[in-house]
């Protein structure tokens, strides 16, 4: 489980942002997590609770948007969602594809702060 390390990176990032933009009272941290990022959302939520204790983000909530795996099919010329994470091929024509369009994301999208 490396989600605690990931959460510590998130805290570093939002600390930096909060200082740079003089933000206080971050209520919600919006995160995008791709299903192919290697990070488990539930473990992130668990680690978040632990890691935020005693920080300015103790009362902040982590909101996670899950990003599906999308590949590009060179035959159909379409972006497609494979049927599973372990079949990287077009669900229509079954052509294998190594071009990942989305699914690897791991980013802080925005912060919701008290106005």
């Amino acid at each position: 489980m490396h989600e605690l390390s990931i959460v510590l990176s998130i805290i570093d990032e939002i600390e930096e942002e909060s200082e740079a933009r003089d933000l206080h009272d971050v209520e919600v941290v919006h995160l995008k997590v791709g299903v192919f990022s290697g990070v488990d959302p539930n473990a992130l939520l668990f680690a978040w609770e632990l890691a935020c204790e005693g920080t300015p983000f103790e009362r902040s909530r982590l909101d996670i948007e899950i990003v599906p795996l999308v590949i590009h099919c060179a035959v159909c010329h379409q972006d497609r969602r494979p049927l599973s994470l372990y079949q990287l091929c077009c669900p229509e024509c079954e052509t294998p594809s190594e071009t990942i369009v989305t699914g690897r994301e791991l980013e802080v999208v925005s912060l919701e702060v008290t106005a």
């Binding site: 490396h2 390390s5 990176s9 290697g38 990287l88 091929c89 980013e107 919701e112 702060v113 008290t114």
Partner: protein, 232 residues
């Protein structure tokens, strides 16, 4: 009380990725080919690496960094092949990150190396999130683990460049279905280069050596590494 939304759009791994990019540049400038090794615990990373180091050390200058939660055992073992080995003990951390690599390289002259291998902590999940600045990532799968590992851990297989099927000398005893293993690897990473080896008997290692020689020759033809020759 009302709230407002502040856009951030920052990659969580930004710090690690930046450092990894710097490392990659340093490796390129020094003309050293860097290969990361990932696998589950006990799949034969160290035995494979020992063979790689001793095989390549005849013609090339090689070094290795080896990650484990605890003990210096692996480094001691690899030092039989080359003195240029450093152990990274991570304590409780289940993966290597770019900062650990940077620290471990302290004092080493990268210009004096042809190949640097980085053996990650045995884990098929966490290392996939951390770029170490390596040029190539090898993922190892042993014949005794079962052929469906790639399907169970698609992320690490997909984020690797080459699959090495190890312990092929045990394949028959373990009822290992090689064709299925190859199919499963292909399914999670279409077009992936694969090798089948036995570190014990040495079978298949020749192809891996050749692959690495070709990579080095290619990167020196196209990259900045040619200056190495003039500085010696």
């Amino acid at each position: 009380m009302s709230t407002r939304i502040v856009e951030v759009r920052a990659k969580v791994m930004k710090q690690n990725d930046l450092l990894a990019r710097e490392l990659r540049k340093r490796f390129e400038d020094a003309g050293v080919n860097v290969v990361g090794l990932v696998s589950s615990p006990g799949s034969g990373k160290t035995a494979f690496l020992e063979k790689l180091l001793s095989g390549l050390a005849r013609d090339f200058r090689v070094a290795a960094l080896v990650g484990d939660l605890a003990t210096e055992n692996d480094a001691a073992r690899l030092k039989r092949a080359t003195p240029n080995v450093r152990q990274i003990t991570t304590g409780t951390i289940c993966h290597l990150d770019a900062q650990m690599i940077e620290r471990a390289l302290d004092g080493w002259e990268l210009d004096d190396l042809d190949f640097l291998f980085i053996e990650n902590v045995g884990n098929l999940v966490c290392p996939s999130s951390y770029d170490l600045g390596e040029e190539l990532r090898f993922v190892l799968l042993s014949a005794t683990e079962g052929e469906d590992k790639p399907l169970k851990y698609p992320t690490i297989f997909n984020s690797s460049d080459v699959a090495i099927i190890t312990k092929m000398d045990m394949a028959e005893a373990a009822d290992f279905d090689l064709a299925a293993a190859r199919r499963n690897i292909e399914s999670v990473r279409p077009g992936m280069q694969m090798f089948e080896v036995s570190a014990k008997t040495g079978s298949g290692m020749g192809q891996v050596f050749q692959f690495l020689r070709d990579r080095l020759a290619h990167s020196r033809e196209t990259g900045t590494a040619l200056q190495i020759e003039t500085t010696q």
